[in-house]
């Protein structure tokens, strides 16, 4: 039963970490390689909140706001001129990620930081004792997934974003403000990624390079999912599950590369991945 919970909660954590990247890639067709840096920014918001003696839960809205504002500035100054040059956008956001990492190092140093746990302790669930925080992460993933489903299917912003994904030229011709929708989408994506950074703090050490470790896995999962949050959930469940199984029964080192290898295999077989889910 613990193994099953490990699989489900690992998938949830992968979903939380990848959702912001998918929001940006799905609508803007830009791979934000500063994704890892935004995770780091979010995690350091938790460090700052702890340093200021704030309730650790306040780090979540703080990180979302910081990520969204910085994302807005980034979209306006760096990404917007590069929408027609997606390869250049990858290089630019990669460089931005390095800059952000260095700035974090400058302010906080290279040392590992510690934050107050959001939910310490264990819970008795399905006949086993399990980490309360990992169960919370599962709930957070469901909330984020449902939130995105509502945003995309139940709001005008979501309808406009879907129209842009399908046919941006027609969306412009109908008078949609595509520039504003891109900006808001980028801000939501980076805000959500920073929020994910806070949610990671009880599970991983906080240091200036912590986001890099999550970047490749997130990138591969998003490539497999295309622009579908449903497909992302399926990919996280399948490949996150495989990661847990490989780590448990074969080798934790091989487990660490399982997601990337399986995603590459799926993309080799079908370039659209799970995009039709």
């Amino acid at each position: 039963m613990t193994l099953l919970l490990d699989i489900v909660t690992t998938a949830a954590i992968l979903f939380i970490v990848s959702a912001g990247l998918l929001a940006i890639f799905g609508v803007l067709k830009i791979v934000n390689f500063a994704h890892g840096a935004w995770l780091t920014v979010g995690a350091y918001c938790a460090v700052v909140a702890g340093g200021l003696g704030l309730n650790p839960w306040l780090a979540l809205p703080l990180a979302f706001a910081a990520g969204a504002v910085l994302g807005g500035v980034t979209e306006r100054l760096i990404v917007r001129p590069l929408y027609a040059r997606p390869l250049d956008a990858i290089l630019a956001t990669w460089g931005l990620g390095i800059v952000i990492g260095q700035l974090v190092t400058l302010w906080f140093g290279r040392d590992v930081q510690f934050t107050e746990s959001l939910l310490p302790g264990t819970i008795h669930v399905l006949g086993t004792t399990y980490s309360l925080y990992r169960i919370f992460a599962l709930g957070a993933a469901v909330v984020i997934g449902l939130g995105f489903a509502f945003l995309l299917e139940g709001t005008r912003l979501g309808l406009s974003a879907r129209a842009i994904i399908m046919n941006e030229a027609l969306a412009r011709a109908l008078g949609l403000d595509t520039a504003r929708i891109r900006l808001v989408t980028f801000m939501i994506g980076t805000g959500l990624t920073a929020l994910a950074g806070v949610l990671l703090t009880p599970l991983t050490s906080v240091d200036p390079t912590m986001g890099v470790a999550w970047l490749i896995g997130s990138f591969m999962l998003v490539m497999v999912a295309g622009s579908s949050f449903g497909a992302l959930a399926v990919a996280c469940l399948l490949f996150g599950g495989a990661q847990v199984l490989v780590s448990t029964f074969i080798s934790p080192i091989l487990g660490g590369i399982t997601v990337a290898v399986l995603c590459a295999l799926v993309l080799r077989i079908s370039s659209k991945g799970f995009a039709r889910v």
Binding site: R156, L159, S160, A163, M166, A169, R172, L174, G175, L176
Partner: protein
């Protein structure tokens, strides 16, 4: 019957040049369309008709000349600004969001959901079949139904100026007749000015007040619709 013959100009193009990359598709084109007039712009493929509509709507930048709506220049205005000021557009290329429902395709034409109910009632009057099929995906409609949906979307906000790009292409005569009725009704009810790009001579000359033929980005001939129009247009469209 709406009489536009004495009305002031709604849309004026003065020496407009536009195109893609180094190639000028529309060349030094001048045209004046009166308020409430239906104007048919015809020409063979590749003559610049679609580019001209895109230039008016700001989707293709004008390289020279001036475009005025109600006397004010609209060169450089964004499509959003023009749509907000009453321009409707029925495009020819990839004109629908195929995976969205009919309702969502129509919803994208209004500025807020508060306007949706009244706007839907407007277009149900012209195309009643839409009322019962709002949840259906646009891509599952027949070709004729898709064209009526495109027209309905362009009419949602009751535009002052309507730009229509080859709406009759590949349609049965009954569907063409229904679209023609919708255009006449809009003009009668609201004084809508319509610039109709067409290759279907019968449809264009049936609904239009005036016509022009575009050849290599320039007006080759133009006139009032009446006796002899058909022969004159055909003469210019001969291969």
């Amino acid at each position: 019957m709406f009489d536009s013959s004495a009305a002031e100009a709604k849309l004026e193009l003065d020496g407009v040049t536009s195109g893609y990359g180094p190639v000028a598709i529309v060349r030094d084109l001048s045209l004046s369309i009166r308020r409430g007039e239906i104007f048919a712009l015809m020409g063979k493929n590749g003559m610049g008709k679609t580019t001209l509509l895109k230039t008016i709507l700001g989707l293709v930048a004008a390289r020279g000349g001036d475009i005025r709506m109600d006397g004010a220049s609209i060169v450089g205005a964004s499509p959003k600004a023009l749509v907000s000021s009453g321009v409707g557009y029925a495009p020819q290329e990839q004109p629908l969001f195929q995976d969205l429902s009919i309702r969502d395709n129509l919803r994208l034409a209004v500025h807020s959901d508060r306007e949706l109910g009244a706007a839907l009632e407007r277009v149900f009057g012209h195309f009643p079949f839409l009322r019962d099929r709002l949840a259906q995906k646009a891509g599952t409609l027949s070709g004729g139904e898709q064209k009526m949906l495109i027209m309905a979307r362009a009419l949602m906000l009751g535009p002052d100026l309507l730009l229509i790009d080859e709406i009759s292409e590949g349609l049965q005569p009954t569907v063409i007749a229904r679209i023609a009725d919708a255009l006449r009704a809009e003009r009668e009810a609201n004084g809508t000015t319509i610039l109709l790009v067409e290759q279907n001579l019968n449809f264009a000359l049936d609904v239009a007040d005036r016509w022009a033929v575009l050849k290599l980005g320039e007006i080759d001939d133009s006139g009032e619709v009446g006796a002899g129009s058909r022969e004159r247009v055909l003469e210019h469209l001969k291969i």
